[in-house]
């Protein structure tokens, strides 16, 4: 069953002199419970692809279906309900910096419709899983880079979403924590969540127990490899070879 479906999606940012094509004719399908790794060099369009799924940006052409629904057809008022089914770990975290970690996670659960008490309990468990003490009364602003990233992960996982988008979720984490997070994602996947993990870290690619391996370059999907529940280690040369023209900002 397809949970996530891109059909000929093209996306352009800005207009006039700041116009910039970020994605070109991207098509792929991910099944329920898939664990996809989205790789590609800096500026390839990974974050853009994830933003489209969240309806943070609109494609220029093509169609995107999330859990069977065409998200371009969504009324504005329905977008929040789409997002409640899509957990996201953003590259820049997007945490409430003045709130505590617990508040960050519990609030997002309350938005999902959970009662205060249940939200608190679930948020605690989610934070503990990423080794953040739920009892800290510090503002999230006062956490280290990696700690903030873990709060963002906890928030995305706590809601048990149908789709989980993770944009470079371990860029600020050490190898031990990176491994643990990847294991968490694999666990989530087994509960039926479709996971889409964007990264350029070969280590993460090799550790991630993925079912699909996607490779973007210059906005084009160069590769979509299904790996039968196996490890889709990239060939190191894929990432490093040749001039990567789109790496430079035009």
């Amino acid at each position: 069953m397809a949970t996530l479906e891109f059909a000929d999606v093209t996306m352009t940012y800005g207009s006039g002199s700041t116009r910039r094509r970020a994605l070109l004719d991207v098509s792929f399908v991910l099944d329920r419970g898939a664990f996809a790794v989205l790789s590609g060099p800096s500026g390839a369009g990974k974050s853009t692809l994830l933003k489209l799924i969240l309806a943070m940006e609109r494609p220029e052409s093509g169609s995107i279906r999330v859990a069977g629904r065409d998200i371009q057809r969504l009324r504005k008022a329905s977008i929040p309900y789409l997002r409640r089914n899509v957990g996201s770990i953003f590259q820049d975290f997007k945490l409430l910096l003045e709130a505590t970690p617990l508040e960050n996670v519990a609030l997002s659960l309350q938005i999902l419709g959970m009662r205060h008490r249940e939200a608190q309990a679930r948020a605690r468990r989610a934070l503990e899983r990423v080794e953040i003490s739920p009892d800290t009364r510090r503002a999230t602003r006062c956490l280290s880079g990696g700690e903030q990233q873990r709060v963002a992960i906890a928030r995305a996982l706590a809601g048990e979403p149908a789709v989980l988008l993770a944009d470079e979720p371990t860029g600020n984490l050490d190898p031990r924590l990176t491994k643990e997070i990847l294991e968490l994602l694999a666990e989530v996947r087994l509960r039926g969540t479709t996971v889409l993990l964007a990264t350029h870290d070969p280590q993460v690619m090799s550790w991630a127990d993925c079912t699909d391996f996607l490779r973007l370059q210059g906005g084009k999907l160069m590769e979509h490899r299904k790996t039968l529940d196996g490890v889709a280690a990239p060939r190191a040369s894929d990432e490093q070879a040749g001039p990567v023209l789109m790496g430079a900002v035009a």
Partner: protein, 299 residues
């Protein structure tokens, strides 16, 4: 989220948001209060001016001085004919003594001027009060007709300066309405900009709540609550200050006004008026915050 649940959360969060930056809140409320004070002052002056003008505009507009030794019966008949006119409300006979007393009163303590003057030198008269809304030219026409009568010596139509002051007050009223509208608009702009700056400062928070699935009303709710409270508090503070100021100044203003006008009683807003004022503040706060938050909620 259950909607009662959600409402509770939204209100709570609005209050907490205010608690987190109490100084900014206080300043926003103070800003509102200053604007509202200005607005309230204009409205208060205007309503009172209206009252004064009404009380005074119908006071002695036409005085019919009777000829010396006029026949009492003829005067009575004249008075009856006059009072029968629909535009005339009352007719009062003023004897020379009463006229003298009034003159003395008009000169205040400065009675020395009138010493030795016999009341009988002053003529008897009839004072007509015209109905409210009677056109100004009616009085003049009436005067012309009355002067034809034998028992009438002269008709004074509310004097020259009375007309001048009356036009002046009309113009002032217009200007006050204009100023009131301008001040209201300025108030709304200020409230809007205050809230907007606050919203702008928290735009990241708004974006985040939207991204984790908050509906636009959920996200903007706390700001609207905040705006409403700010607006209502601002209005309440303004009305309170206005009342204190009014109370302190009333005796002076009343005695000052009584020099110029017959009417001298000034009124503060009624409890209903105060309620309307506070509701108006809350409404401005809501409108301002909704407008301010809309832009960031959309993104």
């Amino acid at each position: 989220m259950g909607s009662i649940h959600a409402l509770g959360y939204v209100v709570l969060r609005g209050l907490r948001g205010m608690g987190q930056a109490p100084l900014v809140q206080m300043l926003a409320i103070a800003t509102m209060a200053v604007c509202m004070l200005l607005l309230g002052l204009v409205v208060l002056v205007w309503t009172n001016a209206q009252g004064v003008v009404q009380a005074w505009g119908i006071d002695v507009p036409v005085t019919v001085y009777l000829a010396d030794g006029a026949d009492d019966e003829a005067v009575d008949r004249l008075a009856e004919r006059i009072v029968a006119l629909p535009e005339v409300e009352t007719v009062e006979g003023i004897s020379p003594k009463m006229a003298m007393a009034r003159l003395a009163d008009g000169l205040g303590g400065d009675q020395g001027l009138l010493e030795g003057i016999d009341a009988s030198v002053l003529p008897a008269s009839l004072e007509l009060q015209l109905a409210l809304g009677t056109p100004a030219d009616f009085a003049a026409a009436l005067a012309d007709r009355l002067e034809e009568s034998e028992v009438v010596d002269e008709v004074a139509v509310a004097g020259d300066w009375v007309g001048k002051v009356s036009t002046m007050l009309d113009t002032l009223q217009l200007l006050a309405v204009g100023a009131g509208i301008l001040v209201s608009l300025a108030c709304m702009a200020i409230v809007w900009s205050t809230i907007r700056l606050g919203v702008y400062a928290r735009r990241a928070e708004i974006q985040i709540l939207r991204l984790v699935g908050g509906t636009s009303s959920f996200v903007s709710g706390p700001f609207v609550v905040e705006g409403m409270i700010q607006g209502a508090s601002g209005a309440a503070v303004a009305l309170g200050l206005l009342y204190l100021g009014f109370d302190a100044l009333r005796p002076f203003l009343e005695s000052g006004l009584s020099l110029v006008f017959a009417a001298g009683s000034l009124e503060f807003f009624s409890p209903l008026g105060v309620g309307v004022g506070i509701a108006f503040g809350a409404a401005i706060g809501i409108a301002g915050s909704r407008a301010a938050v809309a832009r960031y909620v959309e993104a």
